[in-house]
Symmetry: C2
Amino acid sequence: MIIEIENCADSLLEAQSILFLCHAHPDGDTLGSATALAHALKGLDKTVAVMCDDKIPQRFDFMFVGIKQVVDFEPGLIVAVDVADTSLLGRNAQLKYSEKIDLCIDHHASNKLYASAVWLEPDSASAAEMVYNLIKKMELPISKQTASCLFTGVSTDTGCFRFSNTTPRTHRIAADLIELGADSESIIQTFFETKSRAYASLERMALDEMQFYLGGRCAIMPLTRAMFGKSGADDSDTDRLANLPRQVEGVLVGVTLKEQSDGAFKASLRTHGDVDASAICARLGGGGHKGAAGVTLNVSMAQCISRLVEEIEKEIGE
Amino acid sequence: MIIEIENCADSLLEAQSILFLCHAHPDGDTLGSATALAHALKGLDKTVAVMCDDKIPQRFDFMFVGIKQVVDFEPGLIVAVDVADTSLLGRNAQLKYSEKIDLCIDHHASNKLYASAVWLEPDSASAAEMVYNLIKKMELPISKQTASCLFTGVSTDTGCFRFSNTTPRTHRIAADLIELGADSESIIQTFFETKSRAYASLERMALDEMQFYLGGRCAIMPLTRAMFGKSGADDSDTDRLANLPRQVEGVLVGVTLKEQSDGAFKASLRTHGDVDASAICARLGGGGHKGAAGVTLNVSMAQCISRLVEEIEKEIGE
C-alpha cells in the first residue's frame, strides 16, 4: 500500500520498538537516513536498532554513536530505508526479514513495493531529504548528530549538490541542516575532498585504462583486482570513481567496471542529460536512477563491455 | 568610505550610465556578478557596459548576450565588482580607471578600499551572493539569464558548495536562483563536470609530478609549459586543478605551480581547516582568502618551491 508522510509519521510514533534496515554495500544515504530516524525516535524512549548486512565503513562511525546495531529485541515495526528491493538487503537480512517489512521509506522510482506500506518520493534527491521532512512532521528535535547524519545523505546522494537530482528543496534542507549544527565541513572533506594516496594511485591507473566507444559518447573505465592490489586501495571507497568517465567532454554515458572478488563485474553507469541509465541497466538485470544506475554481470570483461556498449547504443542511438 | 547595501542600491539606481569593471584573469564570480547587475539595471533604461581587461573565455558567453563590452559612453558611475585591488584590473584598465572608481562591491577581506565607496562583505562566499541581495534590495526583476549569471558566481566561488566558505545563505540563494530559472544543470556540467580530453591528459601528467613536503602536510603540483604543450590543454581552464593537491589525505596546504609564458610561476594555494592561505601568500606579496590564495613569483621553480615550503612551514609549524 502506498502511503503519505502523515501515515508514515503515525506508524513510527505508534511503534514501541523499531528495526531500521539499510541496503547492503551501504552508502551515506541509507545509513544517514536510518540512523537519523533512530536518533530522533530514541528520544521518545523507544527501542531502536539499525541493521546493515555488510560491514559499515569506518567513515560512517559517527552516525552510530548511541545507536544499537544488534537486534536483541522483537521489533514491533520493521522499516527499510532507501532499499528499492529486498534483494538489496544482503543475503542474511533478506532471508530473515524480506517477508516481514512493515514500512519502506524510499526515493527510488524502481521500488518493488515489497513492504506492507510504502512511502515513496521518486523526485526526492535522497531518502535523507524525505527523512528530514518526516522528523519535522513528527515534531521531534534534530540534534547536531542527527543533522550530520542527514547532511551526509543529502550531500552524498547528490554528488555534493552537483547531480541533476539536486532541487531547490535539496539546497534549502542543506541550509537548515547546517544551521542545526551539521558538521558540513568535515563531512564534505571526508566524503568528497579526501583521497588516500592509495586511492589517488588507483585513480591514475584507472584513468590511464579508460577507453572510448560509440564515437566518444561512451567511456568505460576498468577497475581490476590487479589495480587494487598494485595501488593498495580499499574496495570500499571507490564509489566516486564512477563519476570520472562521464566528465570527459562528449561522453554521454560513463561506466566503471569493477571486478568483484568472484570474478563478476559490477558496472556503474552515470549519464548526462536525457540518457536513462536505469533503462540501460534494467535491460541487463540491474536498476537505479535515471542519471546513475548499476548492474552486475557474471561474464568476462570483454563480454561485459560488449553487452554494455550494445545496450548503450540502443539507448543513445547511432 | 565603507557603505551598506542600501547606499549601494541608491548609487546604482541614481546613475544614468554605469561601467562595471571585472578583475583580469576573469572567473565566474566577477563576470557573473557584473553581468547580473548590468542585466538588472539595463531594464531601467540605463546605459551599462561590463569591461574586463583579459579575453573572456567562451564558456562565459551566455552572460554577455545583450550586454555591451565596449565603453562608447562617458560613464556616470564606475563600479568595480569582486576586485580587491586596482592592480587586479589588468594593465589597461588599471591605467585608465584606477583613480576613478566610484563604487566597489567585494567580498575579499583583503580589499584595499581604493574606491570612493566600498560595500564589503568578507563573510560572503561570493560577490554574486551580495549582488543577488542587492538586486532584490533594488526591487528589480531577475530574469532566467540573470539568475544563471548569479548561479555561476555562487557555484564557482564555492567549488560547487564544497568549500568552507559555503553558508546556509549560499544554499538558500542557490535554491532561489534555481527557482528563478538558472540553468544550474548546464552551468554545473560546464564548470565542474566537463574535462576536455586534453585537460584530462594534463591532469594525469600533473598528478604524476605531484610531490609531498613537510611530512606529507604540503603537496606541490607543477604545471609546466611543456605539460601544456604535450597535452594540448588550454591555459584558461586550469583553475580547478588547484583543488587536487589538497585532496590527498594528510595534506593541509595544496599548491599548484603554473609556469607563466614569461617564465614566472603562479602559485595557487588551497588549505584545510585553520590554515590561512592568504597569510602565507601575503608574506610573499600575494593575497586572497583564508582557504584559497595565490602569489606570482618571478624565480625558478626550485626557488619557488623552496620559498613556498619555508613560508608554509612557518604557518603550519614543524
